[in-house]
């Protein structure tokens, strides 16, 4: 276990290092001048030169990179080029929004997928199975962007049940939850459809095994067999997918936050890339990378919990 943790931590650090190099290089290779983006078409040459100097864009690339890494290691992610305030603060004020959305998306995905997947497996080769597989096929096929617009048109414009966008903030939990419903559904429907299919096939495979037959022969109820015996044994592939899906949900917020005008990290990264705001993009990509790596790490730990046989191997 100690060796496992050490290997994992090393992987984590190396991944982040690689990501930082790639982001830094890509943002610098990408054509675009932050000073010109800020000052616009009427800017004079000397104003542009002054701003470039102010932003430290005239230093050599390597110096800037080393500087950035050194400061980041000390917890200082620099000042945003375009906002002119510390990047850490910018991210801090947006993080609750994106976390709220990603977590509610994850909960929705898992609940819907398990219910649909197990339900379909239990009704294998019956109309319930076909119906659920059809719905999940639809869920996979519909682009999140388009689904968002349909949901808004129906529930916000036509029925007026829910707000069309914006986030009310957690000061008012009811309003906050209301404003999260549509974005959550739009964000998570694709993921839950994928997961439902994985759950179904994984459950079907387990159901064919001897111990399930034994359980059935013992006279346990169908429900008990499904949720107590089939599901736990079908979890390994499900958890693997969930780990990958959490990363997809976090990055999926970029589109969803734009459509529902939510003040989260997705909109911030979008805006920062357009503005060539290197310090902000750099910090955000690192954060997203860290979230993905952490999610995978947690999945690895969960394997051991789910399948005790792995403990010996780890």
């Amino acid at each position: 276990m100690g060796y496992f943790l050490f290997r994992r931590t090393l992987g984590f650090v190396l991944t982040l290092f690689a990501v930082s190099v790639v982001v830094f290089a890509v943002m610098n290779v990408l054509p675009g001048d932050p000073a010109l983006t800020i000052l616009g078409l009427d800017a004079t040459e000397d104003a542009l030169a002054a701003l470039r100097e102010q932003l430290g864009l005239n230093d050599p690339l390597l110096t800037r990179y080393v500087h950035w890494v050194w400061n980041a290691l000390h917890g200082d992610f620099g000042i945003s080029h375009s906002f002119g305030i510390p990047v850490a603060g910018l991210i801090g004020e947006r993080l609750p929004m994106t976390i709220s959305l990603a977590v509610s998306g994850m909960i929705f995905t898992v609940i819907l997928a398990l219910v649909m997947g197990i339900g379909a497996a239990a009704n294998h080769r019956k109309p319930g199975d076909w119906g659920m597989m059809f719905i999940s096929q639809l869920g996979i096929a519909i682009p999140a962007f388009w689904l968002s617009m349909l949901l808004v048109l129906l529930f916000a414009v036509k029925l007026r049940w829910l707000p069309p966008g914006g986030f009310a903030g957690w000061d008012d939990p009811v309003a906050a939850m209301r404003s999260l419903i549509l974005p959550t559904v739009a964000l998570a429907l694709v993921q839950s459809s994928v997961l439902a299919r994985v759950t179904r096939s994984s459950a079907l495979e387990v159901m064919r095994q001897d111990f399930v037959r034994t359980a059935r022969a013992t006279g346990f109820s169908r429900r008990r067999i499904l949720w107590r015996h089939v599901l736990p044994n079908a979890l390994v592939p499900i958890v693997t997918i969930v780990g990958m899906q959490f990363a997809a949900l976090v990055t999926g917020t970029i589109v969803i936050e734009n459509v529902f005008y939510l003040p989260g990290l997705g909109r911030l990264i979008f805006q920062s890339i357009s503005n060539r705001d290197l310090p902000t993009v750099q910090a955000l990509v690192m954060l997203f990378a860290a979230i993905v790596v952490t999610a995978n790490f947690i999945v690895d730990l969960l394997y051991v919990v789910i399948d005790p046989r792995l403990k010996a191997r780890a």
């Binding site: 054509p31 800020i38 000052l39 078409l41 009427d42 906002f83 005008y261 805006q271």
Partner: protein, 497 residues
């Protein structure tokens, strides 16, 4: 006796209560929510060119010496009057007295000197530093008088002073305007939730505060056009000046809850051609392109008919406008002939398009029109940062589509071959010099007409249409500008019925 007086007091108290309750509806806060597509990253118009900074804050939070009305006419603001010397080089401004900034500091001539000195300084990053170039000196004569001396006459000086770039910021607060804007205007900055909204509240100490009917204004940032439309439809937003989707306008027009307006802007949309390199250094090729484009088709397809065609580089609502759309009328056969004569028929050219709907939609139609005239135009949709770097800065393009939204910007063609047009015409530069130094409006308009004719004749670019300003506003709200001669939208005159 004591009993009586007690009950009298009770009656008086209940009367007072009644008066309070009766007055309550009148005390209700008048507030509106305005939708805005573009969110700025800074709130300082003297340091960042983002149009929505001016759009939200100039004349509302910040004030300049002058201001302009919807027709573009210059009016007094922080300067209540001014005198211009005979030679046109000395401007003496009389300032409003008793004005205070929102943080309580007083406004006087020293602030004007500070604001201008800061914008003109060597290390200044003012996005429109050029408008301060003619200034030789700014002097405070007394606390309410400022004298500005120019090195040369500047016909647009008073107009330029009305822009957010020339906002009179105070030394005490200028550095923090980036996040907490402090000005002298009718509204005070309240809060900014980045990525979400910006809130202004009425400034009761403003000199004409009695005429301001809004108590609170919230700007909501909604970048996506479909989301903007949904927010309006669900009445989450009360007004969307600068509505991003022309195709959705009819839907709002038909709805009695809303009114729609189609106004003009200062944005000339052009099919820019790189005049500095072949084949566009050849007049024949540029003429051919001008013949090849069909403005009506472009306006119908790209703007759903909601724009006015232009034949040169001057807005149709301006006093010197001349209709030159007939200089090179749409004629595909003629275009083909000229392309053949110039020996470029059948060649491939690139059309690099920035990520704006008007540009991307126009590009597809222009591509088809050029193809009918025998030219294969390759459309490359590029991102804004890329466009600025490659097209604007490095002139690495054949053709592009862009709206020039600054007022009085015919001077772009006098910027010489280094500007991204690659247009080098010393005669036009001389003409522009006489335009910007001519103080007699009539003579200036005659010169401006001459300029328009020259640019149209030379077919410097394909002149397409004037960018419209579309607004969707709730039916009970009045006072929004239909057209916008500048970037800002004054809210002091907006009322809710």
């Amino acid at each position: 006796m004591s009993y009586l007086s007690l009950s009298a007091a009770r009656v008086a108290a209940s009367l007072a209560m009644g008066a309070l309750l009766g007055a309550a509806p009148a005390l209700a806060e008048t507030s509106i929510i305005i939708g805005l597509q573009q969110e700025p990253t800074s709130l300082d118009p003297t340091a960042d060119a983002t149009a929505s900074i001016d759009g939200m804050l100039e004349t509302n939070v910040y004030e300049s010496l002058t201001t302009v009305d919807e027709s573009g006419e210059v009016l007094p603001a922080l300067a209540k009057s001014w005198e211009i010397s005979e030679d046109g080089l000395t401007y003496t401004f009389k300032l409003e007295e008793g004005v205070t900034y929102h943080d309580g500091t007083t406004f006087d001539s020293a602030d004007v000197v500070y604001a201008f000195t800061r914008a003109m300084a060597e290390g200044s990053t003012n996005p429109s530093k050029g408008i301060f170039k003619p200034i030789a000196s700014v002097t405070a004569v007394d606390p309410s008088t400022v004298e500005i001396k120019l090195t040369e006459k500047d016909a647009f000086f008073l107009f330029n002073l009305a822009q957010g770039d020339a906002a009179i910021v105070a030394e005490e607060s200028a550095d923090a305007n980036n996040t907490t804007p402090i000005g002298t205007g009718p509204f005070k900055f309240d809060s900014w939730t980045r990525g979400d909204k910006l809130v202004l509240v009425k400034n009761p100490d403003w000199r004409d505060a009695a005429d301001v009917s809004l108590d609170k204004v919230t700007f909501r940032f909604i970048a996506d056009a479909a989301a903007a439309s949904a927010a309006m439809m669900a009445e989450e937003v009360d007004a969307f000046p600068g509505f991003p989707a022309p195709e959705l306008m009819p839907q709002f027009e038909a709805d009695p809850r809303f009114k729609t307006e189609i106004g003009s802007t200062e944005g000339e949309v052009i099919l820019a051609m790189n005049n500095s390199k072949p084949p566009f250094n050849d007049l024949k090729v540029r003429q051919a392109v001008s013949y090849a484009i069909n403005r009506d088709e472009i306006i119908d397809g790209a703007m759903y008919g909601m724009a006015v065609p232009i034949g040169s580089f001057y807005p149709p609502h301006g006093p010197a406008y001349e209709d030159l759309t007939g200089t090179y009328p749409h004629d595909t056969a003629k275009a083909k002939e000229l392309f053949t004569e110039a020996g470029v028929e059948g060649t491939t050219m690139t059309l690099r398009v920035p990520p704006f709907p008007y540009a991307m939609r126009s590009a597809e139609i222009i591509q088809a029109e050029l193809s009918a005239a025998g030219i294969d135009a390759k459309v490359e949709n590029v991102e804004w940062g890329f466009w600025l770097e490659e097209v604007y800065k490095k002139k690495n393009y054949d053709m592009t589509i862009i709206a020039h939204t600054s007022p009085n910007d015919m001077g772009n063609f006098a910027k010489g071959p280094d500007y991204f047009y690659g247009y080098d015409n010393p005669e036009f530069t001389a003409l522009w010099d006489s335009i910007r130094t001519e103080s007699d409006p009539e003579k200036r308009n005659a010169l401006l007409k001459q300029g328009q004719e020259e640019l149209a004749q030379q077919a410097v670019h394909g002149f397409l249409f004037q960018l419209p300003r579309l607004s969707v506003i709730k039916a009970n709200i009045d006072g929004f500008w239909t057209s916008s001669p500048v970037l800002y939208q004054p809210l002091a005159g907006v009322t809710v019925n």
